[in-house]
Subunit: 354 residues, 2 copies
């Protein structure tokens, strides 16, 4: 294994001292970059890109080549690889987002759900190994999965971004069926993330993109408890290092106190919460990752710098902050604005680490 | 004026003692009711229905006829009457939601924005008078408006439910332009709500449907401060009664403490927040309205009753709670489930008012 040249990100996640606030951007490899679009064109469909280890490696490294101030790389993939491996038939229609051919709505279909053979996800683990090798110790590599609740929303609804009425109806009328889906999915995510760790992931992140759609009580029951179970089952690296885990419930900042008890090393924050207030609520051992509104990157370098300064000041002195956006960077972001963002974080964060 | 036969709702909003927890449902006149669909068919388009005082009166009273346990009526209208009167050209395309012909994105267009002549909204005030008259004192009538931020999202983006990237780009790159839109819109909303009060509205509600899309700081700057201004400018009724004001920022439960300082009598809550925790956060003089997830009404009468009981128990003893859904009732709700909901609130709430 290569020596890690920049471990600032890992140290911040473990709440150890760093010289500055490390930073990466959710969806940093993506459509806002012309070099990504070029590779995507060569690869074919989005899933063709994900399934090809060389293409996935190329796009993962593109933002690192362009932005030397990035402190982490994240596996290029999609959370929906898991329900796809579970046999639901994933496709991406242009401008429509992901769709599944089959949905889990009938008891008979739900009862047939099984943890898939990890061989069907080998392409993801191959991508992890390939990226880790290509990084050559430059920065740590993040692996990831969707949360069971979030994956279940796609499996039950058949698509994303809905009102979640079908799955919520199940949650209230037939909670036993939904718990069955979540239980199988949680077991799958455990195997999936551990295989990513074996392949070389140095941090794992759980994306609970739709947890914020739930009520307070339903969030604990249908989302948080399954993430907690996953985190408790994560393995260490082959050389015995702990792999930090970041848990991110978008729209979930109301429930930070409960999240802080789930065993993660860090919590992702969307932009709705003041990060200083979040820090006060979660206690001293929990790291926080976030939380600039990605829409700010559409404005001007001056406005970006000002917002970055306010977030850094709100977090205040000391370790435990990984700067990030509060959600994925949008495809409309001018690449130079992303650069201004990263420069502002580096420039203004050092004073908080003296 | 008629004597009010049931003032439970108004008393709860003013945090006065009541015999039970009053209840109404956001969008209680709507597509889940076959009688609404019949009237809508007679009326023509959605806006044709809103513009006709008799039709608007008929549909406002339909849920009260069906559900004798409702404690309030709400004007049948739409928040987009205001930008429509401001000249932006509202239309509703089938299955697409509202669209505006013109948007406010260029400085020249923004600078031309004016407070519209309230005569162009006279059809709304006529509906208020007609409904108030038809209610004949049965229950109080709620008038309403969108918040300036929420109305501005439609005016700038041209439609709803987006990522709000255009208006947010303006918020960060040209805050002066956005503040101009919000200032004009706030003045318009003041005149609009006061004219509804003059026409007979006994409570007003401000719907900040999209405030939850903002960051902590941006919410205060671009949404809350304008609602505060509106609330401070509301008039009393002709006979000198205070008109209670309910302020509702969907997705805004993180910011309840700031909302509690804005001058409203009650805060609307979506389903994401535990109402007992919300009560502890806002202090003793603020009433709360909410907060069952409307998706629960798609399940079973038993599940509905259980969820209602948990919300009542979480709020606890004493006055100041108006039961409601955490958002509008969905069109897929079986009408009998709405009935089960209302019955459960009445049945289980009395013990908390002894």
């Amino acid at each position: 294994m290569q020596t890690l040249q920049n471990d600032t990100f890992l140290r911040a996640l473990m709440h150890e001292p760093t010289d500055y606030t490390p930073v990466w951007m959710m969806r940093q490899a993506g459509r806002y970059l012309p070099e990504y679009k070029a590779t995507r064109k060569d690869a074919g469909s989005f899933m063709d890109l994900c399934r090809n280890a060389q293409f996935a490696t190329d796009v993962t490294l593109q933002p690192l080549d362009r932005y030397p101030l990035l402190d982490a790389a994240i596996l290029f993939s999609d959370i929906l690889t898991v329900p796809d491996a579970m046999g639901l038939g994933l496709s991406f229609e242009a401008g429509e987002g992901p769709r599944f051919e089959r949905t889990l709505q009938h008891e008979a279909d739900i009862k047939q759900l099984r943890v898939p053979d990890m061989a069907d996800l080998q392409y993801v683990f191959n991508a992890v190994s390939s990226i880790r090798n290509a990084l050559d110790g430059q920065v740590p590599l993040i692996g990831f999965s969707g949360s069971p609740w979030t994956l279940a929303t796609y499996m039950v609804e058949g698509k994303g971004g809905t009102d979640f009425l079908t799955i919520k109806k199940m949650a209230y009328a037939r909670p036993d069926l939904l718990h069955h889906i979540l239980e199988i999915t949680a077991q799958t995510v455990i195997e999936y993330l551990n295989a990513q760790i074996e392949a070389g992931a140095q941090t794992v992140m759980i994306f609970d993109s739709w947890g914020g759609a739930l009520s307070d009580r339903a969030y604990i029951t249908f989302s948080l408890q399954y993430m907690k179970k996953i985190i408790a089952s994560l393995i260490k690296t082959a050389d015995g290092r702990k792999v930090p885990c970041v848990m991110f419930t978008k729209g979930g900042a109301l429930w930070l106190e409960a999240q802080a008890e789930a065993g993660a090393d860090a919590l992702g924050l969307d932009w709705t919460v003041d990060i200083g207030q979040a820090r006060a609520r979660v206690g001293k051992t929990m790291a926080l990752q976030g939380n600039l509104d990605p829409a700010v990157l559409l404005s001007t370098p001056e406005a970006i710098e000002k917002e970055v300064e306010m977030i850094l000041a709100s977090y205040g002195k000391g370790s435990g902050h990984v700067f990030n956006l509060g959600h994925g960077i949008t495809q409309w972001t001018p690449p130079d604005n992303a650069s201004a963002f990263l420069a502002a974080v580096r420039k203004h964060s050092q004073q908080y680490h003296m």
